[in-house]
């Protein structure tokens, strides 16, 4: 009797349910006798992720013991974010720290990120892109695009004679004192 679930098949062999790969069949077992427990990595097995540490099949490929270290959650210095910084952020990113919970969330996020300070990065070059090993593709100087003004203008709610319409200039947020935000109410 075969049951299949979640990409793994439970194959009944010799009175025992044994986990096998979806590509089950006689070939999967290789030439190994069914009764023996497998102590070496089998060929063609696909997922061993979830049973890696414990699954004896995977013993050769994955470390038996964790290589990462647990960082003590030292009480990191509680950095209070000042009202000026909040005002600056609201102005820049046009977010609205609606209530105390929003502010708290930001502070918790900062604390979470501050854990990075526990890592010793002396002598390590900062990585700025996961693409640093890739080659930057250089395109030839040919005209291949454009002339789709109709399509682009369809995205805009208002247009005038093939121009996009925007509000006049940059209207900066009013100063903190004049704004109706909870920040000045609370601080």
């Amino acid at each position: 009797m075969r049951k299949s679930g979640g990409g793994r098949m439970w194959i009944l062999r010799f009175g025992r349910y044994i986990r096998g790969a979806p590509s089950g069949g006689a070939s999967y077992w290789g030439g190994l006798s069914p009764g023996r427990r497998f102590t070496q990595a089998a060929a063609g097995g696909s997922d061993g992720r979830q049973d890696a540490a414990g699954d004896p099949r995977r013993r050769g490929r994955v470390y038996q013991n964790p290589t990462w270290q647990h960082v003590e959650q030292r009480p990191l210095p509680e950095k209070k974010v000042t009202v000026e910084v909040f005002d600056h952020l609201e102005r820049l990113a046009l977010v609205d720290f609606r209530n105390w919970e929003g502010v708290q969330r930001l502070e918790k996020a900062i604390q979470f990120a501050d854990q990075l300070h526990a890592v010793n990065t002396e002598g390590v070059e900062p990585m700025d892109s996961v693409l640093e090993d890739r080659c930057l593709y250089l395109r030839e100087d040919n005209i291949t695009e454009g002339n789709c003004s109709e399509e682009l203008l369809r995205n805009a709610r208002e247009t005038v004679e093939e121009y996009f319409i925007a509000p006049p200039g940059n209207i900066p947020l009013p100063k903190l004192e004049e704004r109706d935000t909870f920040l000045q109410v609370s601080e």
Partner: protein
């Protein structure tokens, strides 16, 4: 049609429409603050001591120049680069920053930046990185501009420029300004402000076009120096072909950072001057700003760190907006672009696709002669003065005109240059024409100079012929000479007859000369010239008169 009721925006992302404050400072700026201690000794570069005996001021000017790269397509997308086109017709999905689009770097723009860096003696960074500079403005659809802030393409160069100093502006000196960096960045779109309907019209044709930003160190001290440096940079860019650098079309944009201080003290607060449309306005704007700051500080006020726009009609700078704190651009590495690696012949790996590689040495070999080199060559080849070669290269097409005339005439180039710079250029400036619009072709001028050289006409007659040629009626110089009968009288007898007639008509002067007053001889020569309408050789006339008088 829509454009006629709108006014062009002041192009910068941070200015507010209608934000025109009063020219002069308000009452809040006056403070009871004495100017700084009087410094000893050193003469300032400009601005003599004020009336109250205040120490001399030194101005510090730093320039940030954006040059639009001359290429077929934009920096990161394949849409066309063209100055005038129907609005939003040269925009691709990436330029409109629709989601899911990615940048693809244009090879020609990289080559242009490397060429410019090499021409300005910069060291080219073999690895350079792209960053995002975030700010909100309607003509920046993505909300960020891809630029190179951390590691630009070229750093630490220098630009040498010449300017005329001295009271009569006839001494040429060479100055150098250091280039801090040259980086590649994207241009933003254009916004047209419609104040009546309180809206802005956005045209993204220019969004995404490649720009080279040249950042200079603040080492200049006057508007004139800045204008000379910009002019030299313009010539270099045009010679390289990396940019057409026409300021009027917005292909070369200059922002000036100006501050003043007493020599020996710390630098003063700087202001940024934008919206400058030509090299002449640049000089005026900087000079105005320097004077304004000096006046402000001498009156006890302070200079605010702000951005000011230059109004060329009024000839003054107006505050654009108050920079309360520094703009926070939140620079971050561009996640979609790996580092840009440039190679030279040593580091070039084998079996590379030539299209994917920019070889610095290859570009260096193919650099054309820079203006400074061409000037030296002109001086060596034709024996003209450095000032002359400077003017020749300064005018678009004048050098080619000069060389073509020299080729077709037997006259010494040193004399030809006088005709070109004084007469031809004078006419061109008077009628506000460019060299290529000149009604007098190089062939005609060469013919005229040949006639002069052979002695067929005198130099004053030649000037008359040139005036006639300027009308552009298509007659050759020879035809004009024949029509107006301007040939020099070659016949000795005729000359003697004319001289005799003049001498008989002016016995008083003859007496004077016989007494010993030689200066009157020139008057007689002049009279002879007038009677013959400039058709005599003054040297010959003088000989004949002297011979006769001594009889």
């Amino acid at each position: 049609m829509a454009a006629s009721i709108l006014r062009r925006s002041l192009l910068t992302p941070r200015c507010r429409a209608g934000d025109v404050a009063a020219l002069h400072s308000g009452p809040s700026r006056r403070r009871a603050q004495a100017p700084g201690p009087i410094a000893s000794g050193r003469r300032a570069a400009n601005s003599p001591a004020g009336e109250r005996g205040v120490a001399p001021w030194v101005a510090v000017v730093g320039l940030e120049i954006h040059a639009q790269i001359s290429s077929n397509s934009k920096l990161f997308s394949g849409s066309q680069v063209q100055f005038a086109a129907p609005p939003n017709s040269l925009v691709s999905f990436f330029d409109a920053s629709l989601p899911g689009t990615l940048p693809a770097l244009n090879r020609r723009c990289v080559e242009a930046a490397v060429m410019t860096g090499l021409a300005l003696n910069c060291s080219i960074n073999k690895k350079s990185l792209f960053d995002r500079k975030h700010y909100f403005y309607a003509d920046l659809p993505a909300g960020y501009q891809i630029t190179q802030q951390r590691l630009p393409v070229a750093v630490n160069g220098s630009l040498s420029y010449s300017l005329c100093v001295g009271r009569k502006k006839n001494q040429m000196v060479t100055r150098t300004v250091r280039i801090k960096q040259i980086q590649l960045e994207q241009d933003s779109g254009k916004s047209l402000h419609d104040d009546i309907r309180s809206q802005t019209l956005i045209d993204l044709n220019r969004a995404g076009v490649g720009l080279m930003e040249v950042v200079m160190e603040p080492e200049m001290s006057s508007g004139e120096e800045a204008a000379a440096a910009v002019r030299e940079l313009q010539l270099i860019l045009q010679t390289l072909g990396s940019s057409q650098a026409i300021m009027a079309e917005g292909q070369l944009r200059v922002d000036a950072n100006v501050s003043v201080h007493h020599p020996g003290e710390a630098y003063g607060v700087r202001t940024e001057v934008k919206n400058i449309n030509s090299a002449r306005f640049l000089a005026r704007a900087i000079d105005y700003e320097i004077q304004r700051q000096i006046k402000e500080l001498e009156n006890g006020g302070t200079v605010m760190n702000e951005t000011r726009a230059f109004d060329f009609k009024l000839g003054c700078t107006i505050p654009m907006r108050d920079k309360e704190g520094k703009q926070d651009y939140r620079f971050m590495p561009e996640p979609n672009l790996p580092p840009l690696i440039l190679y030279d012949t040593k580091s070039l790996p084998a079996n590379t696709n030539h299209q994917q590689v920019v070889n610095i040495d290859w570009i260096r070999e193919r650099l054309p002669d820079l203006p400074s080199v061409r000037r030296v060559k002109l001086v060596e080849q034709y024996g003209i003065l450095p000032e002359h070669s400077f003017t020749l290269l300064n005018e678009d097409g004048l050098m080619e005109f000069f060389e073509s005339v020299v080729r077709q005439t037997q006259m010494n180039p040193k004399k030809v240059i006088g005709w070109i710079l004084n007469d031809m250029l004078g006419y061109l400036k008077q009628h506000n024409l460019k060299v290529k619009e000149s009604p007098v072709s190089s062939l005609f001028l060469a013919d005229l100079l040949n006639l002069l050289e052979r002695g067929t006409i005198s130099s004053s007659a030649a000037k008359q012929v040139l005036e006639e040629l300027w009308k552009g009626e298509g007659k050759t110089p020879l035809q004009i000479v024949k029509e107006k009968k301007l040939e020099l009288i070659q016949d000795q007898q005729e000359l003697e007859q004319i001289c005799q007639a003049v001498m008989e008509g002016h016995q008083e002067e003859v007496m004077e000369i016989k007494k010993g007053n030689q200066k009157v001889l020139n008057k007689l020569i002049g009279l002879v010239q007038r009677t013959t309408r400039g058709r005599v050789d003054p040297v010959l006339v003088k000989q004949i008169l002297e011979k006769r008088l001594s009889q």
